[in-house]
């Protein structure tokens, strides 16, 4: 891959071209796949530059309570990988789509435990990349190979504990963007931006790859702060799911999601303005 990272992917392009980028996440099937379609389109309208769609897995060990609950709603609604892909087949957005799911879901797609059928189907459905919260670089070889074969990005997470040799290895394999985990712990909306975020971005500043920060981002002001601190994008999930979960009728959430995306995108932009005071926003280096 190291030679392939030189070819800019849809995802990398989406981040660089729309800098500062907004990446949004919702869980597919929460509360139904039909609703998800409308929500994704709303997020797209609201200004998302990249959209992550969660394929629910019964043991979401990296998620906090908000996304756990969304996953349970999606599973209770009977969401399956097949239904998920059909949804993706159907969706029309400007923003490229990624799938976020756990490794076992990828392995079990198809008749044998094997990653290839999933990747093939993901490519066919038009997905641009995959994020797997329980797949560290050390175990990612088979999936990365399959993604390469089908031109999909395999996005790696960089945690506050990722340092030294491991950080180098991971950064040398980044495809799409580096998912910078804002803090230790699980996903979930937080009231502030953690110090760890600043530390991580500082640690990563020497690497010339797009960096997007997730885990806990819930407001426009967070987005501004994060972008200002040197990120290329912000990733927001739980804050959006809160909107879905709190709407009396599923369709009520559509406008709220669009508005929230817009607020976050504005916030991110504010970050660039402030940041612009200090240094010029990085330009895509390779066209």
């Amino acid at each position: 891959m190291s030679d392939e990272t030189s070819i800019e992917s849809d995802i990398e392009a989406a981040i660089r071209e729309n800098h500062p980028a907004l990446i949004t996440y919702i869980t597919a099937g929460d509360p139904s796949l039909e609703d998800t379609k409308e929500y994704v389109e709303a997020l797209d309208r609201g200004g998302s530059d990249l959209i992550e769609l969660g394929l629910p897995f019964s043991e979401p060990i990296a998620e906090g309570p908000t996304i756990q609950a969304a996953i349970n709603r999606a599973l209770d609604a009977g969401t399956t990988p097949q239904g998920f892909f059909e949804l993706v087949d159907d969706i029309e957005t400007e923003a490229p789509l990624l799938v976020m799911t756990y490794y076992n879901m990828i392995l079990q797609y198809g008749s044998e435990p094997d990653v290839k059928p999933f990747v093939e189907r993901a490519a066919e459905a038009g997905l641009s990349g995959i994020i797997v919260p329980d797949l560290p670089a050390e175990e990612s070889e088979p999936l990365r190979a399959a993604c390469d074969d089908h031109g999909l990005d395999l996005v790696f997470i960089v945690a506050p504990t990722t340092e030294g040799e491991r950080l180098e290895t991971i950064m040398s394999q980044v495809s799409g963007f580096a998912y910078v985990q804002a803090r230790l712990g699980t996903t979930g909306a937080r009231a502030n931006v953690s110090g760890a975020t600043h530390d991580s971005l500082a640690r990563l500043s020497e690497y010339d790859v797009p960096k997007a920060v997730g885990f806990g981002v819930s407001e426009g002001d967070h987005a501004a702060e994060i972008i200002e601190a040197g990120a290329d994008g912000v990733i927001v999930g739980s804050a959006l799911i809160d909107l879905i979960a709190s709407s009396d009728d599923p369709s009520d959430a559509i406008d709220a999601l669009e508005a929230k995306a817009a607020e976050l995108k504005r916030g991110a932009r504010r970050g660039t303005e402030n940041e612009a005071d200090e240094e010029v926003a990085p330009e895509p280096e390779q066209p």
Partner: protein, 438 residues
């Protein structure tokens, strides 16, 4: 605990057993897992700073090791062959769990960790961990599903008495699987100063090996004891399997005892012929049925080795009870400690290669096993261990002349469950339970 290191130490896929094992954990945990790997190699495998000496001494003085290998007179008569019981029920805390809990808490101390967390299902691993943490003066928090908290009150009390916090997990069905998920989440948050004491030979490398090594004292003792007491190796060794820690702990020393194996190295002090073959039986919970209800996501059993398929759960590739789509099933067993949809990767591998024979017995056979040992031998076994005893009843004719069964724990914790479950059934081996309500 010998040559494994060279074999698996630094390959790109560390900690695998054939196709099984690995380190499928969130990136945030990888540094901790690697730090643990390093500590495991230094302290456990190489006895740095005398770690293993201290561990063994504490297991003797605090834990009560060695546990006896007892000839079961009345079972031997019943089955017309020699039956020996390895008495892990006599270990401090009432189950083999302390071997592992004390090892890991001590290791955490050597690593400079300040806090212990652990998951528990029935509460056996939680109580063992709480005891070990109290003994070694480490703050300790235990995650336990809400359902389990409610049905295993005495174990909750024991943990609290030992000074541990008990955190009920409200998610899902509120049992072991959810408790593990939640402990992993805590670990992902506090990983720098916290050690997660996993309760069985599951989880990411190095846990399966490390837990096996801490538990392997069971089989090491048993192998020596049976040679002293019966002057030869057993024909069969039987242990129950949930995650598989008592199983691997019992089997590990016997795995090389294969007819086809290379002769044991010259420094094998046993002086035994290397060609004696020992059959190994891992007995899982057959629950009420081996059939799976995919629609409901329910397996009314925990017979992972017999009926599971390969997949990734809680950090490792192993055999699992899962839907064809990859969702993990709710497992079921009358015995809470076997009620888990996964199993240790090494056991999956040993089953795959034919070295270990998987078996299962249903709830009823296990309950009869419980009553039989209680009445015939004066030992009230854990419901988990009762599966091994139920299997003995069913399969003794195929087990040869000399059989070792691991009694992984005592059954005091199971009395209420056994009474309830016995009342529902007409069990051959049970006393008349109705008159209990005198």
């Amino acid at each position: 605990m010998s040559t494994e290191r060279e074999r698996d130490g630094k390959s790109s896929r560390t900690g695998t057993f054939g196709d099984y094992g690995g380190q499928y954990v969130p990136e945030a945990l990888m540094p901790a897992v690697q730090e643990l790997e390093d500590a495991y190699e230094r302290y456990v495998l190489e006895n740095e700073d005398g770690f293993m000496d201290e561990f063994r001494e504490r297991m003797r003085e605090f834990g009560g090791r060695p546990t006896p290998l007892q000839r079961a007179d009345r079972l031997s008569e019943r089955y017309d062959r020699e039956i020996y019981l390895k008495r892990e029920d006599l270990l401090h805390g009432g189950a083999h769990k302390l071997n592992n809990a004390l090892g890991q808490v001590l290791l955490a101390k050597y690593m400079g960790k300040e806090r212990i967390i652990a998951e528990t299902g029935a509460g056996q691993h939680g109580t063992a961990t709480a005891m070990a943490a109290a003994h070694l003066d480490m703050p300790c928090e235990i995650y336990m599903g809400r359902t389990d908290v409610n049905r295993q009150r005495p174990n909750v009390y024991r943990m609290r008495m030992n000074g541990a916090e008990v955190n009920p997990v409200e998610a899902g069905s509120g049992t072991l699987k959810e408790a593990i998920n939640e402990t992993m989440r805590d670990w992902a948050t506090t990983v720098e100063r916290t050690h997660y004491v996993i309760g069985s030979v599951v989880g990411p490398h190095p846990f399966p090996k490390m837990v096996r090594d801490f538990q392997s004292v069971i089989g090491t003792e048993a192998r020596k004891q049976i040679q002293e007491q019966a002057s030869r190796l057993p024909d069969s060794v039987v242990a129950c399997a949930g995650g598989g820690s008592n199983t691997m702990g019992t089997f590990h020393a016997f795995v090389p005892d294969e007819e086809s194996a290379e002769p044991r190295s010259a420094d094998d002090s046993s002086g035994q012929s290397p060609r004696e073959h020992v059959d190994l039986y891992a007995v899982e919970a057959g629950g009420s049925s081996l059939e799976i209800d995919e629609d409901e996501g329910l397996a009314p059993n925990s017979a992972t080795l017999s009926t599971g398929t390969d997949g990734v759960l809680h950090g490792a590739m192993t055999k699992l009870l899962q839907s064809t789509e990859g969702q993990i099933m709710e497992s079921h067993s009358v015995s809470a400690g076997l009620d888990y949809a996964g199993v240790g990767p090494e056991l999956s591998h040993l089953v795959e290669t034919g070295r270990v024979t998987p078996a299962s017995v249903d709830d009823e056979v296990a309950l009869n096993g419980f009553h039989r040992l209680s009445r015939l031998e004066g030992i009230i076994p854990a419901l988990e261990s009762s599966h091994a005893l139920g299997f003995l009843e069913e399969a003794h004719e195929d087990l040869g002349d000399l059989v070792v069964v691991n009694v992984s724990g005592r059954g005091d914790k199971d009395l209420e469950t056994v009474l309830e479950e016995t009342e529902k059934r007409d069990l051959a081996a049970a006393p008349d339970v109705e008159v209990f309500d005198q």
